[in-house]
């Protein structure tokens, strides 16, 4: 009888401890708004994939210790259906009804800006991986009372990405060509993002001594032969397929068949995809990823990351690497919360993020936000050896210190 009583007492004590532990593990609600349907789904799914992986890793490691409490991340994932109105509705729900402390997303500049008009007044932090946010993140917008005070751009400014990429492409291709390349054609989709991104990339190439022609194609083009024939007539040294990886993967094989140029650069095409598609060219081809390649990375941390990312069931696609525009910031945000010691002081968290750095997966150099809440890191560029699909040589050129002449940096 005495043993039974002792057993019951121990069980009760164990239950009490378990309940106490459960109480100690409080929930930190974080929102994710991303396209899980509609035409941006390939990019959107990578945001969700990164968020799931980061939340799982943080929770498995014991959660976030803030003051005397431990928080486990609870993700509230909303599909924006590639629709700005749905993004706005989702942001309203997450901010007003659920009370998330921060939101990750979304794929495109105008959606993110629309969301910021809801997250800003509610003092909810927002991490968006859009390089084009540089156009709105200025002194006034990020000031204490500015409408973007709580927004952070988790992708480098476009002039930095363009500068880093242009340097990487030219450094890898120049030794492969009979004479140094002088004439580049930038081939880009004629949508808002394409226009914005290519304006910086053209300037970056010109800063590297290239004469540049810009040829824009209608978005959703599938048959590129007429346009590529036109480019062939321009006799370029390098054709740069810029911005949209899917369009590039459609156009590039057609360019090879027409023999448009003696060398190519494919933006947003991962070596893993190049290999999977068994693409092969008898001329040098360079590739770059947004921001680091999953198919051929020189960094072991990146390789480990993608093993885990794909291990969670994420599909391997041209945009899988986009997930790295979102992953590290969960850990950085968690670190900032721990440092601040409370989860309900967004101003202190913003201040902490701005004065701290974080050594993440995306960059061997610690990440730092500048005064406009923008991060800086390099873009990886790889060259595939001619007549192979799986032999890559990669380079990481650091971004330039300042925008090139004619680029206002915005």
């Amino acid at each position: 009888m005495r043993q039974l009583g002792l057993g019951l007492a121990m069980a009760a004590a164990g239950l009490a401890m378990a309940l106490q532990t459960a109480r100690a593990d409080e929930e930190l609600p974080i929102g994710v708004i991303a396209a899980q349907s509609g035409s941006f789904v390939s990019a959107g799914n990578t945001i969700v994939g990164a968020a799931n992986l980061a939340a799982q890793q943080i929770n498995d490691a014991g959660g976030i210790k803030v003051g005397d409490k431990t928080y486990k991340i609870k993700l509230y994932i909303r599909d924006n259906r590639t629709d700005v109105n749905v993004s706005i509705a989702a942001a309203r729900e997450l901010v007003n009804d659920i009370g998330v402390k921060a939101i990750w997303g979304t794929e495109t500049h105008d959606f993110s800006v629309s969301m910021a008009k809801i997250t800003g007044p509610a003092k909810v932090l927002q991490f968006s991986g859009n390089s084009s946010l540089g156009a709105v993140l200025d002194d006034k917008a990020v000031a204490d009372d500015g409408w973007l005070h709580y927004a952070f751009q988790s992708e480098p400014q476009e002039w930095q990405r363009s500068g880093s990429t242009a340097k990487g492409v030219l450094s890898l291709l120049t030794p492969q060509l009979k004479s140094p390349p002088k004439h580049s054609v930038v081939f880009v989709g004629n949508d808002a993002t394409g226009q914005y991104l290519s304006s910086h990339y053209v300037k970056a190439l010109e800063a590297e001594g290239q004469t540049v022609d810009l040829v824009q194609y209608p978005p959703d083009t599938t048959d590129f032969l007429p346009l590529l024939t036109r480019i062939k007539g321009m006799k370029p040294d390098i054709v740069h397929f810029w911005y949209n990886g899917d369009s590039t993967l459609t156009a590039f094989p057609q360019a090879l068949k027409l023999g448009v140029a003696p060398s190519y650069f494919l933006f947003g095409v991962d070596p893993g995809i190049y290999q999977e598609r068994s693409l092969k060219a008898d001329v040098p081809v360079t590739l770059s990823c947004v921001p680091v390649c999953w198919g051929s990375s020189p960094f072991p941390e990146v390789k480990q990351y993608f093993d885990k990312y794909f291990g969670l069931g994420a599909a391997k696609g041209p945009q899988s690497s986009v997930s790295l525009l979102y992953y590290d910031y969960f850990f950085w945000y968690a670190k900032a919360l721990e440092k601040v010691g409370k989860i309900d002081d967004p101003d202190a968290v913003v201040a902490e993020l701005l004065k701290s750095d974080y050594k993440g997966v995306v960059s061997p150099v610690p990440l730092v936000f500048n005064k406009h809440h923008q991060v800086t890191f390099a873009t990886e560029v790889c060259m595939v050896q001619p007549n192979t699909s799986d032999q890559f040589k990669c380079a990481v050129e650091q971004p330039p210190a300042a925008p090139p002449p004619g680029d206002n940096g915005g």
């Binding site: 083009t221 048959d223 024939t229 696609g317």
Partner: protein
């Protein structure tokens, strides 16, 4: 000169896939009286099925046949389960088809994934003749399209089935009184048009990668081709496809390249304003009763 010749050859190959989808639409829209906005998704399903079969080791040309049959079966199911209930209310069918297109896109995403799919070029050769590059697979696509056009044209204009079908379009009630099983003919046209979409999808993926959203882009051109040529008119679809192909090729080569689509649509608008019945004339399309 080489560049101009190359652009003319390009125009022909650009036109061929457009013609194929245009014929399917012109038959279903013009003869069966159904506005199927999901026709582009039928093409996409044909492309995805081809990708899957080629990936499983099946020869491309065999996969093309299977893709046609599969999408033909899909068309049969769609007509029997959905569109036959809207024959007297074409607008209902139109709205229903928009819903069907979204469902098909996301069904494909669910079954496979959202990423672009491609297959290796089944032929892989490029012939250079007089400075003009002719991609062998594109030449094959043009040839297959020509054969399908010929079969369809003679089937519609010369066979008993074709004549009965045209009679049904002219006066459905009288055709029924004459013993023509109009409903069955509508089903047959829908299946045939869908089969062509399946073949079109297979041919398309042999030239370009496709995504679950490819259909929603190409459907606009398909409708443009069928309207330019004249609804229900197979020859018209060929002419419409060639006109759009030529406009695409030459505007991309010599105009503002970013306006390529706009040039095509301006040409379509002009033709429809000047010849509302299309270049070669056709039916009036779906009629509510």
């Amino acid at each position: 000169m080489d560049i101009l010749l190359q652009q003319l050859v390009n125009s022909l190959s650009v036109a061929s896939v457009t013609i194929l989808i245009g014929i399917g639409i012109t038959l279903i829209f013009g003869l069966a009286g159904i506005v199927n906005f999901a026709h582009g998704e039928f093409l996409m399903v044909g492309g995805m099925a081809t990708w899957f079969m080629v990936g499983a080791g099946i020869n491309f040309f065999l996969a093309l046949v299977f893709a046609g049959l599969l999408v033909g079966a899909l068309g049969y199911a769609a007509e029997r389960c959905l569109f036959r209930f809207t024959l007297n209310r074409p607008m209902n069918g139109f709205i229903m088809s928009i819903g069907l297109s979204v469902i098909l896109q996301h069904a494909v995403i669910r079954v496979f994934n959202e990423f672009q799919k491609s297959i290796a070029d089944p032929v892989g050769q490029v012939w250079t003749i007089g400075g003009v590059d002719i991609i062998a697979m594109r030449a094959i696509v043009v040839a297959i399209t020509a054969v399908i056009v010929a079969i369809t044209y003679f089937g519609i204009s010369r066979s008993r089935y074709g004549m009965a079908l045209r009679a049904s379009v002219s006066d459905r009630d009288t055709a029924e009184l004459m013993g023509i099983p109009v409903r069955r003919y509508v089903t047959g046209v829908f299946i045939y048009g869908s089969l062509l979409a399946g073949i079109g999808g297979a041919l398309m993926i042999s030239l370009f990668p496709i995504t679950p959203f490819t259909g929603s882009v190409i459907i606009i051109r398909g409708f443009a081709v069928s309207l330019i040529g004249g609804l229900g008119n197979v020859g018209g679809a060929v002419v419409g496809g060639l006109v759009l192909g030529l406009v695409d090729g030459l505007s991309a080569g010599y105009g503002y390249p970013e306006w390529t689509d706009a040039y095509s649509l301006v040409v379509m608008i002009l033709i429809l304003v000047l010849r509302p019945q299309g270049l070669l004339g056709g039916t009036l399309g779906p009629k509510a009763s």
